[in-house]
Point group: D3
Chain length 255, copies 6
């Protein structure tokens, strides 16, 4: 669909649209992966999407949840949390309020589903890997950073297990990565930072595999509804962005 892509460029140039720090509409923020960020976890990656910084650790446990007992399959699950002062103003600590909020639960369910899409659970055997995603600093896109960094931590955990011979075959099917896209002042843009995210009309979180398949596609109209054409523009941007992210994951992994 080249016409959509052109329309996109035109739309941007027409409006003299400028993003913070001079980023182009289809440009990712600076992406960094720091592997082995902490020493105890089987996989531990600090992922940065600009000023958004998420520590993703993968913890291997030799057991499975009750519903999988005896089936010879493994499980991948995720937990997500923001440090209280990861954000502009301090948020109450969920542990002290005594429950996780709806946003937290929704995000960690999304991360878990996304990362399970990477894995052949049969090859994982009766092991559970928990991906903890703790946001040290938030500047928009924490859930997509968590998925993208969590994928790398998961690969490291598989390597660790293979080295220890806890598993015989690599359970990895393919990488996944995630990015947010949105319509900001009428223009489709990639990888929204906090300011763009709070001001945008529509935003969409997209998760895709290394092979170009969609795993998740979650678009939400904040103020006014969005058209089919806007959805298409956003999806094109997301596909591009995710390809770039996967290239960076591979580079970080030394592939």
């Amino acid at each position: 669909m080249p016409n959509l892509k052109d329309a996109l460029s035109t739309a941007i140039s027409d409006q003299g649209f400028r993003r913070s720090a001079g980023r182009a509409a289809d440009e990712l923020r600076q992406i960094r992966f720091t592997r082995h960020y902490t020493k105890h976890a089987e996989g531990s990656v600090l992922v940065e999407f600009g000023d958004t910084r998420v520590l993703c650790t993968a913890s291997v446990e030799n057991s499975v949840p009750r519903f999988l007992k005896g089936k010879g399959e493994g499980w991948i699950t995720a937990e997500y949390s923001m440090l209280p002062r990861a954000t502009h103003t301090r948020n109450d600590r969920e542990a002290s309020r005594g429950k996780q909020g709806g946003r937290t639960l929704e995000i960690q369910r999304l991360i878990g589903r996304s990362l399970r899409a990477m894995v052949d659970l049969k090859k994982l055997g009766e092991n559970t890997i928990t991906i903890d995603c703790d946001v040290l600093q938030a500047d928009g896109g924490t859930r997509t950073a968590a998925i993208t960094g969590g994928a790398v931590a998961l690969v490291d955990a598989f390597s660790h297990m293979l080295k220890r011979k806890t598993i015989k075959q690599d359970p990895l099917k393919h990488l996944v990565a995630a990015v947010s896209v949105g319509i900001v002042k009428g223009v489709p843009v990639l990888d929204l930072d906090y300011e763009e995210d709070s001001g945008c009309d529509t935003d969409m979180n997209v998760v895709m595999t290394q092979l170009g398949g969609f795993v998740e596609m979650q678009g939400t109209a904040e103020g006014k509804s969005f058209s089919r054409q806007e959805a298409d523009s956003m999806l094109i941007l997301a596909e591009q962005g995710i390809q770039a992210l996967i290239a960076k994951q591979q580079e970080a992994l030394g592939w």
Copy 2:
């Protein structure tokens, strides 16, 4: 995009695909709205999508949450719950477990956002309307039925408020409705029942306005990822289905 639509018909006819109860791939289940189902609520609608039955009540309260105090705006919020035996096997009651699960919180956030898209919150004044969606019987698509029925309950609540002169102008901007679509054995189908939903590769919940704009678009690959083309087919089905649902809402409302 007529070619996608044709491809869809072809795909279906080619495979001799048959849905339960002889439904066509692009056919909704039997849809019913029973207004004034209970007597105390300002709006009370039993909505049925086939065997899925959800009681949606709209309760008006003359106050707003703290973050809106003094802003002259109203609020729409939603709560969602399944009766313990709405499903094949009994689920523990969330009240007795002492917390709402992640799925519940995720769904009620979706319902709330979707229904807020219908409303001019300024015209609502400092009033809060809570839409309670209680699933009496579940057979797939409870969240989309809740949104579709909740929209009617909300309209009834507005009428009630206008009659009582609690508000002066109708806060309704336009109706919204929602439907699920999915890829079942390779075929895109509309309005999945429980059996189709549990067996499908991909499913997507779509919320749109009466005017054809998207409010929410949430697609999830269950087993394998889905392609851009599959997403397009699902969106076409959803648009059609939602138009039909909005016609039924209007009929129920006597418009």
Copy 3:
């Protein structure tokens, strides 16, 4: 004790006492049982006492609580809840408050004890039946309606189990039913609706078996205390009312 009965009639006629909708002091509201109201549960009965509507489902599970493990006996338990807008003004959802209130726990303990009185737990084998009583609309007497409707749902669950040969013998000993009685403006009346209940001096909930034995008798003075004679009048009314309710249960069951 015919003199009490006469005293009762006299008291009523003397005072030109009139109940809402012209009901006599010893007259039940319209009672209806809709069996098989939902499709998944082993027993599912919508019971109506006038405008009070309670959905009672019986769910069979092939296990028993820990304290009964290995004793060859079954268990009957109940849960009770009101939909948030079953009442005049909306009540917070207990699941979202994170705990069940004292009234809820008290009522579900009462329902459980009452329904266990119907059953030979030895004949039930190591099975648990949970009776969920969800109040769709409240207009007084929800706990007595729940017991009366739950009894029918329980009988349906036994039939289901006998048909499936999960059990060999019918565990039913006898039906139970329940009704409220009270002293309204000095007059003993049967089956109080919400308005009568909130205005009365004394109310009593009585549960009896088909054979005329008492299972529960819970009288409470709301404002001023009640005399032994008033207690006697209420008990006579309750006995009568329960006989009528049991006849209606039998009719609903096609006995």
Copy 4:
């Protein structure tokens, strides 16, 4: 009804019925009130019914619950708890389990309602009195001991308030007291200890005022249902027992 009373005596003598410690069927255990048992509370009474020992404290607070604000009325509420090892085997502490059980909530609601029947809430002004009933040692009848002891603590709190001139008029209408009665091996008996309570067919908790009116009457069939005649026998015993308890309350208060 002298014939019931005779029947009662006969029933007992006929069966050579013997209670533990040689108590007669209509005999209370040793009852003791220790006023000013602790020093901080406005009222503080250790009440003993045989080996059942409950510490009842009355705490005055110069405010009322939200639903009473500005109405010029006061409130009486109660809390009930057992020390973990008040019983034969240790019960988990409710504070560490994170919630109060149904039995606890049911009992504290009963105590609260019973004690409110003693009080002219208008004369109490906008003050709340909380009666804490903590069971130090349990041997049956803890809820009836709590009500009977709590009534004395409440009177002491009123005296304290009158002395401090927090209130001008005594809010006391009349004393209340409570006792349990039951059918043990076919014989109606008064004031059941733990052993009798666990073995009995039926037990009833009765709360009455000093003037002979009923405040609460809660009978429960444990195994088999009970007849109207058994209920009558139990009520006669309860009336007698409560008269004796009120005499002992008065003596403790030095009236």
Copy 5:
């Protein structure tokens, strides 16, 4: 270090320091142990440090926490609670607030650690003893009273187990006792009551064994920090006080 001791006396005499009830700076309040205070527990001691009264019960259970299963060792744990009106003003009941506060958890962890220091856990076998410390009346020093009284209850529980032959050897290594010390208006004092405790600059809780070893030493500056010399003075007072407490424990035990 006799010079510190002298300095202490001098400091006191110099300042004409007077404690409530004429107590000397190095004088304990009246200490009392009432063994067998309640009848169900294997050990049950009411301990009084002046007006502070704590009921300590020891409950034996024939099992161990999961982390000790199969290791042939036992466990000692403690729970601590204040009755709501043990204090000047009523505190909310932790069971009704739904969680134990930080102070409660901190104290019960301290009691548990302190009492475990008394015991050869191997000789206890796979048994758990729970020491429940319920404060009936608080006047400062509740945690040290709880440890000192709990130690006696634990010894009684061991005797009970030896008599029942649940264990073969006495698991007791040595007694422990605890006392608070503090700097009140510049003077080091022993066994602070509530008034002294709330007004003091520094207080320290010390737990020691019968043999003079330290088990816990917890000093806290309330207002201004304390010097090493002040710490030394407090420790000397504490050692003295604990020796006296252990003598009283032995006397209570009839040793």
Copy 6:
């Protein structure tokens, strides 16, 4: 007390005692402070004691807890948490378990008290500063690292407030720092790492001010009790270590 110091050196040299990484008994691990580690908080310090890494943020809020309202004073409070995989094996997330454990609450109370000792709360005005201490990686001494790093974050928050003129005078009285000491295999050592901490007989956490006063002193015998002389040795080590830590705080602050 030079003799103790000598005894200490002798004890070490005599036993050929060697610590991991060749550290001397009285040597701190490598200490690092990274100020402005995250960008949103008014103070944000990553503190490292060897492999122990704690992120300490100071958040200023223009209000005080209810008990301080209208008193013209401020408040300092702390929260502490470990990331689930900060440790060798993963710990359940407290937010998902629904409550903070006793250890967490105990530590955050200690941090709060310690940091309040730094501050003239009058000069802080009616502002609250929350110090969040999140352990990214744990290797022993997390609570002492949290206090030492939190102190620096607090100073940064004061500077921020002074610059913004939220306050007029610097509320800082003096720095505080904290360190752990213990008896490992009979030898007193400073700043225990995880391995030393788990194997030691006794450990003590000490908090002191810049001026050499004690704020907290918490010693615990793990296995066997400790003597007065051992306590003295540990306190000497702690004083030394804290002086060194305060020098490093000053260096980090550029003083």
